[in-house]
């Protein structure tokens, strides 16, 4: 019993010591840098989605220098942990918080309502609040261009697409890719494989291998790792990269092109407006005009004249002369979804749950 008592006292002493340490650290300082919180669904080491976000964060760090301090949290699951992470960031003094995955949005809205003095930026969702914005980019435009290149280079016209989840974002991107492909080769087909995960190297690779075994010769992807592309390249087939420049990572020209993000271009102005108090809630959907999205350099395997054709299409989009979901659209069951001459509204794009003609697979 005595031993027990001694031990308890000891434990108490250690606890109080540890707490005391904490008190010291918590002392407030004057002229603190502006604190920015960033929450990633995966680790920036994934070389994919979170990596590109971190590139944006790094761009902001370089731009603001020691005027800001960035607090990162990685591998935050899409459950209560996300709310806890955001609150901890608020407690740590963050004035603006970014979170990069769709399912964070409920938790972010909840925390935003409770902390009106902090700004919240949610990537890829649709919820907002006076102190919460959502932002995203028109990646489907880039996917259209990459679809053109894929169809041009495919000897068989059989293209494959590894999709993470059947969310409107993925469906929209896939439809963009399919429309681009069929603009070049009207007989092209796009076969979909769902992995039901954003990030799982082995599942993603399995999906790609399954498609390659069916004789598909270009693999495009909406996934966070380079594995699908690697699987294709290893078999001497073509791949379309996403997020980062896969040709640079894999070092193989069979990666025809990569569709890329430039998140810094949104984050920097957002942080700046938060710092000088001009921040406003919005639903932002950036495109080519502000360089939120872009294509990587195209592989030399793609004929020069065709590269020029792709660039010309890109210019048309940038100048607002044309967009991907303009004109007549048929879904893959033959139903006409949009009549000729119509331009699809953003709201429809944001809830897209059907595939265009030429896609082999179902959304559900």
């Amino acid at each position: 019993m005595k031993k027990l008592l001694v031990l308890l006292v000891l434990l108490l002493a250690i606890t109080s010591l540890v707490f005391a340490q904490g008190v010291k650290e918590a002392a407030p300082k004057a002229d603190e840098p502006f604190k920015v919180g960033i929450i990633y669904i995966s680790s920036p080491g994934d070389m994919g989605y979170s990596y590109m976000h971190d590139q944006g964060t790094k761009a902001a760090e370089a731009y603001f220098g020691n005027k800001i301090e960035v607090i990162r949290m990685e591998n935050v699951p899409e459950n209560d942990s996300a709310a806890r992470a955001m609150e901890q960031m608020v407690d740590a003094g963050c004035k603006i918080i970014f979170a990069n995955s769709y399912n964070y949005q409920d938790y972010m809205l909840q925390v935003a309502k409770e902390n009106p003095e902090v700004y919240f930026e949610h990537c890829s969702g649709y919820l907002d609040n006076p102190n919460m914005s959502n932002y995203f980019g028109r990646m489907y435009q880039m996917r259209y261009l990459s679809g053109m290149i894929a169809a041009k280079m495919s000897p068989t016209g059989k293209l494959g697409y590894i999709g993470a989840f059947n969310t409107p974002e993925v469906v929209r991107g896939l439809n963009g890719f399919a429309l681009g492909a069929r603009a070049v080769n009207p007989k092209a087909t796009i076969t979909v494989v769902w992995t039901n995960t954003w990030y799982d190297p082995s599942l993603e690779r399995q999906g790609a291998v399954a498609l390659l075994n069916q004789g598909i010769d270009v693999i495009a992807q909406h996934q966070d790792t380079t594995e699908p592309a690697k699987a294709a390249v290893e078999r001497g087939k073509y791949a379309i990269g996403y997020n980062a420049d896969f040709r640079d990572i894999i070092k193989d020209d069979h990666v025809l092109v990569s569709t890329m993000w430039n998140w810094g271009n949104y984050m920097i102005p957002s942080i700046e407006s938060a710092m000088n108090g001009t921040w406003k809630s919005q639903s932002y959907w950036g495109g080519l005009e502000d360089d939120m999205i872009h294509l990587s350099p195209i592989s030399p395997l793609v004929p020069k004249d065709f590269q020029a054709k792709v660039m010309a299409k890109q210019d048309e989009i940038a100048q607002g002369k044309w967009d991907v979901f303009w004109g007549e659209l048929k879904d893959n069951t033959g139903v006409i979804r949009q009549k000729a001459g119509e331009k699809m509204a953003d709201a429809k794009m944001l809830t897209m749950d059907w595939f265009v003609e030429g896609v082999i697979g179902t959304v559900k």
């Binding site: 019993m1 031993k3 027990l4 031990l7 308890l8 434990l11 250690i14 606890t15 010591l17 540890v18 707490f19 340490q21 904490g22 650290e25 680790s43 607090i71 990162r72 949290m73 990685e74 591998n75 935050v76 699951p77 899409e78 459950n79 209560d80 942990s81 709310a83 806890r84 992470a85 609150e87 901890q88 960031m89 407690d91 740590a92 769709y102 399912n103 409920d106 969702g125 989840f165 059947n166 969310t167 409107p168 974002e169 769902w194 039901n196 809830t351 749950d353 559900k364």
Partner: protein
């Protein structure tokens, strides 16, 4: 000189308290070594963890919220463990609880809104029980090994839930997950983030303690767990009790799932399989299957989780470091349980 592990002649009650304490200190020291190796101050790191878990009312609330499903899953698997029935399927039973309440909320439109929550909880409980009953029945009837069946059924349940929230039950225009439950049918919050599920969990602790330690049924479970042949010879039906214990075990885990869904996500969505069922195994084990001890253990484990999260903010340590520290704390604690029944003995070698 050499060391040997010898079985204790008697079970020591003070050891049951002392050993976890010592193990805890050992784990703190181990953690400190790792932290020092990665050039961070252990004292600051531990302080950050402590503050992350208990630093203010809100943090404390989150730790409790995290502890509730852990406690319930610990209680649930604990009942099966008493029979030496290794139910490692709590995760799947939890997921079925979440599926059950979602089913009620989304499709039982004929119910008045105020009935959705209680009926949803009950349906979740029943589905969890049914899911646990399968391996229970297989074991009782044909001695099918339960570790395999319960483990594999987890993946079936998780996969099925995924199919539901991605495909079949997906909200019409939302992205991932089913539509949100009507707000009136959410589990109410009683203190900040802490929801009324806390009372259900605590009530369960008392009920289970009473059942296990005071009733004839508890006595029978104890007999089966410690010597099934003797129990059968005393007229206790092992088959019936295995199925019964698994039904209760699954019902509690299922209730944990339906309750947590009604309290936090308010929908079936990604993250429903967040490991409470698996961590429940650790809790049951460390608490020595005792319901009251489970409360403390669940809070400690929840605090480890919520505390480790704050390491990223306070110490700018990568997320993996938090996981390493959690593992380092658990390892000596679990290894320490062996010394409650065994002791170390120093054997002196005679001089030759």
């Amino acid at each position: 000189m050499r060391l040997a592990v010898v079985k204790r002649d008697t079970k020591s009650k003070s050891m049951a308290v002392l050993i976890p304490l010592i193990s805890f200190i050992v784990s703190l020291i181990l953690g400190a070594i790792v932290l020092l190796a990665s050039k961070s101050s252990p004292l600051q790191a531990y302080s950050a963890m402590l503050k992350g878990a208990f630093g203010n009312a809100r943090r404390f609330q989150y730790t409790i919220v995290e502890a509730i499903p852990l406690l319930m899953c610990g209680l649930g698997v604990g009942i099966a463990f008493r029979l030496k029935f290794w139910n490692i399927g709590a995760e799947g039973q939890y997921v079925w609880g979440a599926i059950g309440i979602t089913w009620v909320m989304q499709f039982w439109k004929f119910l008045p809104t105020f009935m959705l929550l209680p009926i949803g909880l009950v349906v979740g409980m029943l589905l969890g029980a049914a899911w646990a009953g399968i391996p229970g029945f297989l074991k009782a009837q044909w001695s099918v090994d339960e570790t395999l069946t319960t483990l594999m059924l987890n993946y079936v349940a998780i996969g099925f839930a995924e199919y539901l929230y991605i495909n079949a039950w997906k909200a019409p225009y939302g992205n991932m997950g089913t539509p949100e439950f009507p707000e009136e049918a959410w589990l109410t919050q009683v203190w900040g983030k802490v929801h009324s599920g806390l009372f259900i969990a605590l009530a369960l602790v008392v009920i289970l303690w009473f059942l296990l330690y005071k009733t004839r049924w508890g006595f029978e479970l104890n007999m089966i767990g410690k010597n099934p042949r003797a129990a059968r010879y005393q007229g206790v039906s092992i088959k019936t009790n295995i199925v019964l214990a698994m039904l209760i075990s699954g019902a509690i885990c299922g209730l944990a799932g339906s309750m947590n869904t009604a309290a936090i996500a308010h929908r079936l969505t990604k993250g429903v399989d967040s490991g409470y069922g698996f961590t429940g195994i650790i809790i049951a084990w460390m608490a020595g299957l005792h319901p009251f001890a489970s409360i403390l253990v669940a809070i400690v484990i929840a605090a480890l989780k919520t505390g480790a999260e704050s390491l990223q903010i306070a110490m700018k340590l990568p997320e993996s470091m938090g996981e390493v520290l959690q593992g380092l704390v658990l390892l000596p604690l679990l290894a320490g349980t062996i010394f409650i029944e065994h002791r170390l003995k120093i054997i002196k070698q005679e001089a030759q």
